[in-house]
């Protein structure tokens, strides 16, 4: 179908206008992709709370007062008062690609889609691009033109150097106090425990954390016909490996790493989504959003 064709990452990678891509991706999805624990004005009644001096009297339920002579405030689910913070990994390893779409490109599409989705829902969206340091930062905002600046930032995020999660999370904690959704888009080539250690303070802060683990199919299941000399894109180290190892023990290690990451994420009540860059982004994102929707 045309929508699925447009959503094919290989095709989208040829489009230079990411905003369009993001909008295209978002169309057809349900809104309400997150729940904010912050109560605010909305159409959906949530609960009653006794009135205390200082509360806004506009929310007093007078019907309940007439019946009970007691003053109670109506509380509604705040679906529009949250924000999205994207942490996008732009280290050198994100530049890897075994087919037409690199992980970095995939991360851009994902980040753009999530940003668009958030801002369209009048939620603030922010962006931190990092590698071994914070390279770029946009605090969450709903102002007009903010999406464009986010997309611009994403478009110019090129993979370089190594990876360090501590710095962007520290930065995020320093500049963001509101609770919201934190989406970390990375290939996570680091120890899962150290990842969670860096993220845990945010979880304690009440942030809703999602790990988007972006991997190339060749990274999950490398298949070489002969011995090959591999060069680490971040460290420059070289190593000759055998096809047997690539087909055997490496895949086991990768699977173990993914499972470990998933487990650690569950331990801090963060979501973990494994994304294969060979799969269409809309399908992967749709799958996740439906899962969140069913879970609320």
């Amino acid at each position: 179908m045309a929508t699925q064709t447009l959503l094919d990452p290989k095709i989208l990678s040829g489009l230079s206008n990411i905003e369009l891509v993001a909008r295209t991706v978002v169309d057809g999805f349900l809104t309400g992709m997150h729940r904010s624990p912050v109560f605010g004005f909305s159409l959906e009644f949530a609960e009653y709370r006794p009135y205390t001096p200082g509360d806004d009297p506009r929310f007093i339920d007078w019907n309940v007062f007439s019946r009970t002579d007691r003053t109670y405030l109506k509380r509604y689910l705040g679906e529009t008062n949250t924000h999205l913070m994207l942490l996008v990994d732009a280290s050198a390893s994100m530049g890897f690609s075994s087919h037409g779409v690199s992980k970095m490109q995939y991360a851009r599409f994902l980040g753009a889609a999530l940003s668009y989705l958030s801002i369209r829902q009048h939620d603030a969206a922010g962006l931190i691009v990092f590698d071994e340091k914070v390279r770029d930062y946009r605090p969450p905002s709903t102002r007009s033109g903010h999406l464009r600046s986010l997309l611009h930032m994403l478009e110019h995020a090129e993979p370089a150097t190594g990876t360090n999660l501590d710095l962007p999370f520290d930065h995020f904690r320093q500049y963001t106090t509101m609770r919201g959704l934190v989406a970390v888009i990375s290939d996570f080539y680091m120890d899962p425990a150290s990842i969670v250690k860096a993220v845990r303070p945010l979880a304690y802060q009440g942030q809703d954390i999602v790990f988007f683990h972006v991997l190339d199919p060749a990274e999950q299941k490398p298949d070489f016909d002969h011995s090959i000399l591999l060069e680490d894109m971040e460290t420059g180290d070289q190593m000759e490996i055998s096809p047997d190892f690539a087909r055997g023990e490496y895949r086991e290690r990768m699977a173990t790493h993914i499972e470990s990451l998933r487990s650690e994420a569950n331990g801090i009540r963060a979501d973990y989504v494994l994304l294969d860059t060979s799969q269409p982004l809309d399908l992967a994102l749709r799958k996740y959003l439906l899962f969140r929707q069913r879970r609320r």
């Binding site: 990274e219 011995s227 060069e231 971040e234 180290d237 490996i241």
Partner: protein, 669 residues
């Protein structure tokens, strides 16, 4: 450094192969940039620098391998310089003394001994010396020793001999001794450098490069010498006939002079003759019409006055005065043509000491065979059984029989003493120009030496003689058929002639060669060896060819020259003493006169240039020893190629280890 096979260095071009392969591989590695090696290693990663180092080391090893291989095949050697004082290095001094007859001349031998003694005196403490005596052959008087007392004792024990010498024998001995010495060798040759001692080829006297020749020439400026060079004449007489001897006197390097030749017979003077010998010329004297006593006589011809070399002033001759030997000629021809021809041939030779007695078969069967020196069966098909047995006994006891095959024998298909019978015979018409000539003739056979290969003799008819396992065929016809067969039978022999002696089956009797054929056949079969009359010293007395075995030989001192065992087997004997040897066999005694080799009497020395050339072998133009690969004046060259081969093996092992390590897949276990 020198290269013995420099062309093999071209193989060094093969170093380009590993160079090219390594560079090729370096330019085109299969590489892939990967997002992370995090899951590919848990230990230390091999750095690019380490890998590159290993790669280059492997390339260098392989290049060195090919280079070493080429170099090893080129066979490099390192010539080590002679150390200081190489001239003072211990050496081996071979003191060779000429002990030939010519060294008896004047005081040559005394001077030789004195000179050799001086060499011994000059030996360094580390030197060794070895004494050789040249003539006859080379006799080793001592091994290489440093004990001067022992050397002098060996020197004193030597004496000049009446024999000849050959410098070729000396060179051969030095070539054998010198390579084992491992030190410089100096050959001190004390000799008169007689030209007759020089072999025909100069290369026969060349010494090995590690040996130098020092010449001690003992020849005088002038050395005149006279000798009785040869004696010929009648040495076997019988029936009152007088003997005749002609002696030739020769002068070598001598002025014209008058000499007297005295004939002694059994020690008693018989006659004297004078000879005017021209300068360096020859003169003959004749002794005739003297009757030697019956039996063996020892004749001596003595030249007077004696000269500086008295050993060659005497010539010995054995003269025998005996009744002629009787030959029993058994014939079947009523006209006795074969007997006539045979007897006439013997009578024609003045040297023949035979009397032929003809007999029929019947007469022969009744004769006492032992009285005859030779039996001839001419065209006899068979004998009676008893007679045949007696004939065989005669032969087996050392006698000899000549069997002549003729028409009667071929008609009967058999001949006496030829048990195999006659297979067939060839018949050709006399006028049909179809005949056989003599094909192969062994002229070394005593019977055939004078027959000139039966040239011109036509054989019209002949029998195909059966051959036994031990038969010898000294003569064949042109179609390959045996003409003459010699068959040993016990201690004796049978000679079988395939064609008759009656001038019918062939025309041999009318050819001049018939006489020497008959004479030599008679002499050979009867054991009358004329060569025993005069022999040269060191010649070989071939007793095995004599008439049967069991010969006893006594030397001029009357001592047995052969052991009893050797006497029984008929071993050959080298005649090493001058004088008369006595040979006793089958009841008969013969004398063999042994004289000096006449070549020793010519004292003419070698040309000075030739001596210089000989001395210069092994030296360069400066007179210094030639440096050669085997020169012992310098240490032997170090054979570097052996070292390279060892290195090659080691490097091959190292390359295998490093290559295996380099190519090993880095596995994470």
């Amino acid at each position: 450094m020198a290269l013995l096979a420099p062309w093999f260095l071209l193989g060094g071009l093969a170093v380009g192969l590993p160079l090219w392969l390594h560079l090729l591989d370096r330019e085109n590695p299969i590489r892939l940039r990967f997002s992370s090696l995090m899951f590919f290693e848990k230990r230390r990663q091999s750095s690019m620098k380490e890998r590159r180092f290993r790669y280059r080391m492997l390339m260098a090893l392989r290049i060195a391998l090919y280079a070493l291989l080429a170099l090893a095949f080129a066979k490099p050697v390192w010539k080590l310089a002679a150390g200081a004082g190489a001239g003072d290095a211990p050496g081996l001094h071979i003191i060779a003394l000429d002990t030939s007859l010519s060294m008896n001349y004047s005081d040559r031998w005394d001077r030789a001994v004195a000179g050799a003694g001086a060499v011994i005196d000059d030996l360094e403490p580390a030197d060794k010396a070895q004494i050789l005596a040249i003539g006859p052959g080379v006799r080793v008087a001592t091994q290489a020793i440093g004990d001067q007392t022992e050397l002098r004792a060996a020197l004193r024990s030597l004496r000049p001999t009446p024999s000849r010498n050959s410098y070729g024998d000396l060179a051969e001995a030095v070539r054998t001794l010198a390579p084992d010495a491992d030190v410089p060798v100096t050959v001190h040759l004390f000799s008169d450098f007689q030209s007759s001692a020089m072999p025909g080829r100069f290369s026969d006297v060349a010494l090995p490069t590690m040996a130098t020749l020092e010449v001690h020439n003992l020849a005088e400026a002038e050395s005149p010498n006279w000798t009785i060079e040869s004696v010929k004449g009648t040495t076997r007489v019988f029936g009152g006939r007088g003997a005749r001897i002609e002696a030739t006197v020769a002068g070598f390097g001598a002025p014209e002079t008058k000499k007297t030749v005295t004939l002694l017979l059994n020690g008693a003077e018989v006659a004297r003759r004078s000879a005017d010998v021209p300068a360096s010329g020859r003169a003959s004297v004749v002794f005739e019409d003297f009757e030697p006593p019956a039996g063996n006589n020892r004749a001596e011809l003595v030249l007077e006055p004696a000269d500086e070399l008295p050993l060659d002033d005497k010539r010995l001759v054995a003269i025998r005065n005996a009744e002629p030997s009787t030959i029993l000629f058994v014939h079947s021809d009523a006209r006795r043509r074969d007997l006539t021809f045979f007897g006439s041939a013997l009578d024609a030779s003045a040297q023949a000491m035979f009397r032929v007695e003809g007999a029929s078969v019947t007469q022969a069967e009744q004769s006492r065979l032992e009285a005859y020196s030779l039996l001839i069966l001419s065209d006899i098909p068979q004998l009676s059984q008893e007679a045949s047995a007696r004939f065989e006994t005669y032969v087996k006891a050392g006698g000899s029989v000549l069997v002549v095959v003729g028409p009667k024998a071929t008609l009967a298909g058999k001949a006496a003493l030829v048990p195999e019978g006659l297979e067939e015979f060839n018949y050709t018409a006399r006028d049909g120009q179809r005949f056989q000539f003599a094909g192969s003739v062994d002229e070394s056979h005593p019977v055939l030496g004078q027959v000139k290969r039966f040239q011109g003799v036509k054989f019209y008819r002949y029998a195909k003689l059966p051959l036994g396992p031990e038969d010898d065929v000294p003569a064949r016809l042109s179609d390959g058929s045996p003409l003459l067969i010699e068959r040993p039978m016990g201690a004796g022999r049978v000679l079988i002639l395939a064609s008759s002696l009656d001038n019918i089956w062939n025309d041999l009797p009318v050819h001049p060669v018939f006489v020497p054929f008959v004479l030599e056949t008679a002499r050979y079969l009867s054991g009358q060896d004329q060569s025993l009359r005069q022999l040269s010293i060191d010649s070989i007395l071939e007793l095995s060819k004599g008439r049967g075995s069991g010969v006893q030989v006594f030397d001029p001192q009357g001592e047995r020259a052969l052991s009893l065992a050797d006497s029984a087997t008929g071993e050959d004997l080298r005649l090493t003493e001058l004088g008369f040897y006595e040979l006793r066999r089958s009841g008969a005694t013969e004398l063999a006169a042994v004289n000096p080799d006449p070549r020793e009497s010519n004292l003419r020395p070698m040309e000075a240039d030739l001596v210089s050339m000989w001395e210069a072998t092994g030296r360069n133009d400066a007179g210094e020893p030639v440096e050669g690969e085997e020169s012992l004046l310098a240490p032997p060259p170090l054979k570097l190629w052996k070292l390279f081969l060892v290195l090659l093996v080691v490097m091959t092992l190292v390359e295998s280890v490093i290559g295996n390590y380099h190519l090993k897949i880095q596995r994470e276990v």
